[in-house]
Each structure stands twice: as C-alpha cells, then as structure tokens.
C-alpha cells in the first residue's frame, strides 16, 4: 500500500464554512426574477379515482397563473401504473393530484381550496396480511403484488392465500402461504436436527419514513430551450435523466443544480418524484416556479422503509454455531415499484451467520400507504433488528456469551453471501469484532448485565451489521491548470457525508498536490461533471476513490511523458513530488507543475483533453470536451481490478439502563467497531458510524409509523409525532474504532460505510433492552415502546403487529 499524504487524515471539508455561515444554498434558497409559487392538491383518502376536476373558480382568481394535472404529464418511459408526479388514481393519502402556480404561495393555496375535485373512493388496504386473505382488498385495481416481465416491466397480480393458512396461524400467529420467491441452501431439516436449541418467532418490523430535515423543495425555469432545475438530490449526474424523463425532454436539455442536499438517507437517490412539477408549470407560464414542500408532504411522498412481518426460525448448537435458519417475510411494499428489502434481508442474515443450511421465502405486497424506497441499509436494518434478539435468546438458553456466539459464526476472510455463496471482495469483520470487544471491555461490561441500581437495570447489547459498500467503472476527471491548481470535477452529489471532498483527495495523491491547491467543482451540470455512481448503497467512497485515483494516475503519467519529451530520458525516469516533475537520477532536470500544465495546452491532443480515452461514458466525454485546452487533463475510467461484491461491517456495542418503574430507556454507552477498508477521513467516518447508529436507535426505540386501520390515514406526519431521535436520546459521548485494513482490490483500500451503522445501532439497542429485562422477555416488535417494556415487566402478553394507535 502506498504511503498517502491525504488519505486517512482529518480535514475540514471545503464547503463547511458556507454551511455554517448561511451562504450554502439548498434548493429552496434559490430565487429567480418573476418566480411563481406552486401548491399541491393531495389525495384526502388512501385510494380513489379522480372523476372530475373543476378548476374554473381557481383559475379565475387574480394571481393564479396555471394548473397542472396528471393529464398534462408527458408520455414517459414508465410502464402503465408506475408512479408519476401527479395521478388520477391516488394510491395513498397525500398522493399529489394536481398543482397550481400563482404569484404567491397564499394565492396558490387559496386557489387549491377553490378547486372542486370529485373523487370516487376505492377499496384500500394498510396491512399486507389483510390483502393476502381470501377476499381481502387489493391496494391497486389490478392487484396486490407484481412480478417483472422480460422487459423488466411491472406486471400486476392478485395473490390470495387460502383460509386454512390463516386458520392454521391463529389469531397471533404468522400465516405462511405461497411465497413469491424462495431459495434454499443445504438441508434445513437436517440443520435444525443438528441444533441444540431452536428459536421460532413471529416478528414485526414497522415501516419508517426517511424524514430528511430538508424537504424536497424544487425550483425550475427555462432559458434558451434548456431546463434549469434547482433540486434536492443525493446524486447529481444520476438525477439528470430521471428529471428529463419526468419532464419528457432529452437529458442534454437539463441543467441540474444541487450544490447542497439537506439529507436523503435513500429518499433522494436520483431526486424526487415531484421534480417535474415546477418544471412543467414553468413551461406553461413562462416564469420560474418554486415548489416548497411541507413537512407533512415530505411524510407523504418523501419515501419510507418497507416494513416486514416475518416468521424466523433459528437453530443453534451448544457451541454457539448457527446450524439452520428459516425465514419467511411478508413485505409492506407501499403502492408503487417492487422493493427488494426482503430479499436483501435474507442475504444479510446469511452473511452474518454463514449457516450451512438456510431457506429464505418472501412476498412483497402493495398497500395504500406512502411509496417505499431504499432507506439506509435497506433490508439490512430490518434483518439485523429482527434476528439479533432471536440469536440472543438462543445464547441465553444455551448459557453462552454472545461474543463467543459471534466468533463461532461471523465470516472470516473467505466470507460468502446469499444463495449463490458469492465470495466478497474483502471481509475483516472478525478483526473489527476483536477490536470492539477490547475497546468496549466486553468482559467487564457484560458482568453489569441485569444489575439493578435503584429503579434502573443495566442491559448490554451487541449486533453485527453488514451492507453493500462499493461499485465500479465510473470516470474520474481533473484538470491541472497553468496556475498550478488542481480542479477535481465531481459528478457525485453533496449529500452530507463529506464524500464530495473525501473522494476527491485520491486524485491529488499520485501527483503530490497539496490539498490547499485543490478545488472541487460540483453541484451544477453546466460545470462539466463526469459520469458517476448514484449516491446510494454506500457506493460512493469505493467507486469514486477508484475513479479519482485513476484520474490522478493519468495526470502523473502525462506529467512524466511531458517531462521526458522536453528534458530527455524515459517517462519512467521521472517522479512527481513537491510541485515538480523531476528526473529521479538528476533532480536538476525538472519542470514545475504549472509549467507542465502550460506545456500540456501547447501539446494538445490527449494532454489537454482534445483526445480522450475510448471507454469513457458519454457524459464524461461531453464534459471533458468542454474543458479541453484549459490545462493538463487527468481523465480515466476506473479499470482497476475488481474482486467480488463489497461489504462493510459495523459491530454495535451498547449499554442501556431501563427504568423498571417508568419503562424509560437511557442509552448510556455506545461503540461502533467497523470494517470499512482503509479509513479515508477519520472524523467523517466517526460521523457516519455514530449518525447511522443513532438512526438505528430510532428504529429500536422511538420512531413511529402509525396508521388508522379503519380510515387508512397516518397519525405520524410530523417530527413531533414520528419522533426521530434527539440529542437527549443518545449517549453524551460515543466511541468508534476501525479495523483500518485495506480492501485488496481498491488501489487506496477504501470501502463505503454509510449503510451498516444503522442496523448495528438498531440491533444493539434491541439486544440491550432484552438483556436488561432478563431471560424470559421477548420483544418481537420494533419500536420497543415504553408500554411494551411495562407490559413485559408485568408479565403481560406482547404485541407483534404494528401500531394502530399513537402510544
């Protein structure tokens, strides 16, 4: 591994000062001359058909400029029934039906009030199991689930399970009818026969709204035939085509601006479904249009994690080795798309425990609740939160230490994952576990388990959480200018992880460019950005350290060639350091980097971007072509060797105090131990580990998703009711430790880390709360609410279905 000057060091990201002085502009902070405001009319019921819209009174109001309905949307590439910005058949309460643009927001809202919409109520369903019952309602007219055809298009089906499936399950049991998908490894019957203890439980994991702090507001206008769109998105390069598709224009006619994004967590991967609304209203009116999104609207169409209802059976040998796992997951899909969380959950459980025998079965079912999407560790969080307490219970029954159990199961360097037993690129979770055990002082802390001081009982929890951590073959683009600065162009989004800066640094390493002389260009597609990964699934750190390191190596190669050409000798006789490219055997033969950049422009061709590698993406080609002649260009596709799929890990260690009189839980200590390859930026890594873990605390304890089963309407539309964690819900100090072992296939060793902390946080807290309450309490539902803890203390039965009242 090379000796890095920037990688592995703390630094303040260059956009931080703008963020803390109020200069950073998020989508709603942009203004344009003559800007109108849009408001939406959203569905007041969970499923209905729009029969008639009478907007005459609204349109007659002074100041009302335009209305946009689903009929005004362009023919998209979507299959019929796919989600669009507006609809004539709302499938959940809050789905946008139409939009109005007016001179100000109050006028737009008054106009919305004056529109008469006739709606025909249709059957709806909130609980997937209700939809699977004989005669149960389908969330969509054409069905309650779907498969993909050969063209990857969604084909709807109506699936009902026979009555006897439900009868066999009983009132509180979990019905297991025909799954839509399944896989098996080994022989599960033989595996369970080998087990010394079998845990077999029905488990509920609720859906959960993302609730990024910045609502997905957007502003748009048209200029010289091009759409200028100011949006909130996690990705930049990868949002252009989704917006263009929604507006019905060519991606080359979009200028997308997203300099800052106020959080997404998977809900803004390629922008949002509402982005075309201001764009189309602007085209109608000829004026800029701002759509401010409210918190309640954010709850409606801002995405949510799919909930699971599951039956999980786990067999464990006396030495802690898991011999067999059998999972059946019914997934709450929301009304659109086909979510894969339930399938991923099977892979994650397999990866954690490496059982020789495992069966996974699942079905995803439409409901008339907000659309689901990827949420940080999609499928992984649910998997870890659900299986961790089951494995803990097996340990309690067998009398073995949970760390010993993890040691007996967690994969080594030869880790395999899922039904095809796919070999990973790297796996150092065992190293991370041992570091964590030592740092947390597991042996001593575990002695505190169930000790009572006053009304408080201590619980100790631990959970292992893997998730995907990389992708390949994106492009790096950087220009060394004759002024001696390195401009690193980033097509990735600035979603808050600091990866916009962290992943730029590998471009500077090969030419020893001081960070003070580097500038990052980002957030505006008119500034010529390279083709990039989506900022999702923790791909970015891995994909773009590779891509930008490739661009950095390209810069170095070209510097060596230019120096050899002008100063004699072979390119490999030259090295780059301290602002010079110099001959290694005669350091007096050198060229400064600014001089070499000027020479690159004189030489032209590949040196200044007039000739480009043939394997670049067309977006990178367009951007590099526009930048040609400005300096020495480093541009390359990531063609580094690749291993198997990337997975990073977090082991969460938690100590909680449960008040046995009030049922309140204090999380008093938390440590995240990680394997994420080489540490790229320690402080940002700590932020990801802690922030993600705390979001997991919300899964375990506080954050709520509550629907009225009778009317199909949500109770938890705002922060006060949804209850994401606050600064008082977390330990006063949190700790982390990293294995810091390089992934062998990444030239700088890094893997992504955004996803896995959330499952670790959720699992460790669930584990700790159960531990505090002793051996015979089983919580099979998250969040573990205070009333559940009090019920457990009073030996009353535990619920395992979702919340139907806001407790």
């Amino acid at each position: 591994m090379a000796d890095f000057k920037l990688i592995g060091k703390d630094f303040a990201p260059p956009d931080l000062e703008a963020k803390i002085t109020g200069r950073a502009r998020y989508a709603e902070d942009f203004r344009a001359e003559g800007m109108l405001f849009a408001k939406l009319l959203v569905s007041p019921m969970p499923h209905c058909r729009v029969v008639r819209i009478d907007a005459s009174a609204a349109l007659a109001m002074p100041g009302v400029e335009a209305i946009l309905t689903a009929d005004d949307l362009p023919e998209g590439r979507d299959a019929p029934g796919d989600e669009r910005a507006l609809t004539n058949e709302p499938l959940y309460e809050g789905e946008p039906i139409l939009a109005v643009a007016a001179v100000d927001e109050t006028t737009a809202a008054d106009a919305i009030d004056k529109i008469r919409v006739e709606l025909e109520p249709l059957p709806f369903v909130i609980d997937p199991l209700e939809s699977l019952r004989p005669g149960g309602p389908d969330a969509r007219i054409d069905g309650n689930t779907a498969v993909r055809d050969e063209d990857r298009r969604t084909v709807l089906q109506s699936v009902k399970w026979p009555e006897d499936v439900f009868d066999a399950a009983g009132e509180d049991g979990f019905p297991m009818g025909e799954p839509a998908d399944e896989w098996t490894i080994g022989d599960i019957d033989a595996g369970f026969a080998e087990a010394d203890v079998i845990i077999d439980e029905s488990v509920f994991h609720q859906s959960q709204t993302h609730h990024p702090l910045e609502p997905r507001s957007c502003m748009a206008y048209w200029q010289n035939g091009k759409l200028y769109a100011y949006v909130s998105t996690q990705s930049v390069a990868r949002t252009v085509s989704s917006l263009a598709g929604g507006v019905g224009i060519d991606p080359s006619d979009v200028v997308l601006i997203s300099e800052f994004c106020g959080g997404g967590f998977g809900s803004k991967i390629s922008g949002s479904v509402n982005m075309p609304i201001p764009a189309l209203l602007s085209r109608k009116t000829g004026r800029p249009v701002m759509l401010r999104v409210t918190r309640a609207e954010e709850n409606y169409y801002g995405r949510a994690r799919p909930g699971f209802q599951a039956r999980i059976k786990l067999g464990m040998r006396a030495d802690g080795r898991v011999t067999a796992i059998d999972m059946f997951i019914v997934q709450d899909n929301g009304p659109y798309g086909l979510q894969g969380d339930h399938s991923t959950a099977g892979n994650m459980v397999h990866l954690i425990f490496q059982p020789a025998n495992m069966r996974w079965r699942g079905i995803t079912v439409f409901t008339n609740t907000p659309p689901r999407g990827a949420q940080r560790g999609p499928g992984g969080v649910q998997a870890v939160a659900m299986i961790t307490p089951l494995a803990d219970r097996a340990c309690r029954q067998l009398g073995i230490d949970r760390v010993e159990m993890l040691r007996a199961n967690l994969p080594g360097h030869d880790a395999v994952m899922g039904p095809r037993l796919t070999q990973l690129s790297s796996c150092f979770v065992r190293e991370a576990l041992e570091l964590g055990v030592e740092r947390f002082d597991w042996a001593s802390k575990n002695m505190l388990s169930r000790q009572r001081t006053g009304t408080k009982v201590t619980g100790i929890g631990i959970a292992a959480s893997p998730y995907t951590a990389g992708s390949f073959e994106y492009d790096g683009l950087a220009v060394l200018t004759p002024e001696g600065r390195l401009r690193i162009h980033q097509g990735i989004g600035n979603l808050g992880t600091h990866s916009i800066a962290d992943t730029a640094r590998p471009a500077a390493e090969p030419i020893d460019m001081p960070w003070e002389r580097c500038d990052i260009v980002w957030g505006d597609t008119s500034k010529h950005l390279p083709w990039s990964s989506s900022q999702a699934g923790s791909q970015t750190t891995h994909a773009h350290t590779r891509a930008n390191y490739a661009a950095g190596l390209d810069l170095k190669r070209k510097l060596q060639e230019i120096a050899a050409r002008d100063l004699g000798g072979a390119p490999e006789n030259y090295e780059v350091a301290a602002g010079r490219v110099f001959n290694v055997s005669d350091r007096s033969r050198y060229m400064t980097l600014p001089r070499a950049a000027a020479r690159a422009i004189e030489l032209g061709g590949k040196y200044d971007g007039h000739e480009l590698p043939e394997d670049l993406n067309e977006m990178t080609v367009a951007s590099a072509t526009a930048l040609a002649g400005q300096g020495l260009m480093g541009v390359a596709k990531d063609n580094f060797d690749r291993g198997g799929p990337l997975q990073s890990w977090v082991i969460g260690f938690a100590r909680v105090e449960v008040d046995v009189e009030t049922g309140m839980v204090d999380i008093v200590e938390y440590l995240a131990a990680t394997d994420c390859g080489t540490v790229l930026n320690p402080r940002s890594l700590g932020a990801q580990l802690h922030g993600g873990s705390i979001q997991g605390f919300g899964v375990a304890r506080s954050q709520k998703w509550v629907y009225d089963p009778q009317w199909g309407v949500p109770f938890t539309k705002g922060f006060h009711t949804a209850k994401p964690p606050t600064i008082l819900d977390v330990p006063l100090e949190m700790d982390w430790v990293a294995a810091d072992l390089p992934d062998p296939y990444n030239p700088v060793g890094c893997k992504g880390i955004g996803e896995p902390p959330m499952g670790a946080g959720a699992g460790a807290i669930v584990s700790a709360i159960e531990d505090a309450l002793g051996g015979d309490v089983a919580f099979n539902r998250t969040p573990i609410t205070t009333d559940m803890i009090l019920a457990a203390l009073e030996r009353r039965p535990q619920p395992y279905r979702g919340l139907t009242a806001h407790v």
């Binding site: 630094f11 303040a12 990201p13 931080l16 000062e17 963020k19 803390i20 002085t21 109020g22 200069r23 950073a24 998020y26 709603e28 902070d29 203004r31 344009a32 001359e33 003559g34 109108l36 405001f37 002074p62 100041g63 001179v103 100000d104 927001e105 109050t106 006028t107 809202a109 008054d110 009030d113 702090l213 910045e214 609502p215 800052f260 994004c261 106020g262 959080g263 967590f265 409210t294 918190r295 808050g496 992880t497 600091h498 402080r683 940002s684 932020a687 802690h690 922030g691 705390i694 979001q695 919300g698 922060f719 994401p724 964690p725 606050t726 600064i727 008082l728 977390v730 006063l732 100090e733």
Partner: protein, 216 residues
Amino acid sequence: MSNVEIITATHRAVSRRSFIKGVVASGAAASSAGYLFRGAATAFAQTGAQGAVERLVSLNVNGQARRVDVLPQDTLAMVLRYKVGLTGTKFGCDRAECGACTVLIDGVPHYSCSILAHSVRGREVTTIEGLASPSGQLHPVQQAVMDEAGFQCAFCAPGFIMAMVGFLNTNNNPTRRQAAEGISGNLCRCCDYNKILNSCMRAADYVREGIPTEVS
C-alpha cells in the same frame, strides 16, 4: 440565574397562543396550507393578490435597519427568507418541531417560523448571516464547528449554531449534559449529535477564553 433571563425574555416574546390568535385575526388561518408566503413588493415576489393589506415596518436584522412590507400573518422566518433575502435561516418543519429556523431575538434563541414578523419591531434580530464579522472573522461558535468539522448535511446547522450562541450566552462553562439540554430544541436528522456536542463544548472554550491564535 441564567434561566431567569430566558424566562423573562420568553415572556416578552409572542406566546404560541397569541401567535395563533394573530394569524386568525388576520384571516389567513382558514387555508389548508398553514404557514405561507404572501408576496409583496420585493425583488423576487410578485404584487400581492387583491385585497392584501400590507404595511411597511422597520426590522433590525443583524444590526441593520431593514424596511420591509410585512403582512399581519407573515412569520419572521418567511420575511427573513423571502423579503430580506437571508436564506441561511431554514425551514425544516414549518411548525416549531425542528429548530432549523432558530434565530436570536435580543440574544435569545427563538423559532422564527412561529414568531410573527411585526412582533419583533424594535428588537434585535440576529440570523446566521450576522454572526461572523463583516471582514469574515468567524464567531467563536462557528470557529469551533469548523475545528470539529461539525454537521453532515448541515441543513440544521444555522439553527443549531444560533441555539448554541444563545445557550452559551447563558452558560459559557457547561457540562456536556447541560450543553445537550441547552440545545435540545433542535433536530439533526443526520444525527451528528456527537460532533455537535463536541462543537458546543469547544465553542464554550472559545467563548470563554477566546479563539486560540494557532487553530488547526
């Protein structure tokens, strides 16, 4: 002692009840859409709809007198963002749940989404844009955040920083728990609370002892 100041200042401020009464009186509360922006004669907004009652008031924002057309139902946050052009103050929830719109009024943190603009006439409003000196010298709290690389997406940062400044005005030598309680009216969805608390503790040092000359 420090709490007394807060209580007094809060008492002077508009209570939530009188805020709602004010909105109702202005006739704007019937709308489904709650906290809205009514345009006025500013650079970016359009002429208001017919019948809009407007009046010119003088607001003291970041030490400057600003003459603004303010409608009776205009919130301070809306006026700051859309009439004064200070977009550092953010909307996260529109209804006093998240604190992203926190500003100082006479040195005390308030949710500006829930304060009527006309009620702050004659009082000193400080927003995130008003913290650094005109020459660009960061406020000690901002410098502390820089030195801790606090915040991730930072949409909550302006509100949190204003809350920190207000809290440290009342207690510049807090324990970590006091600091957490002091800024607990603000929400960070990235949950970067550990670094936010590190920043607040460092900020207390800088407020008390000055910003070290040799800052990394």
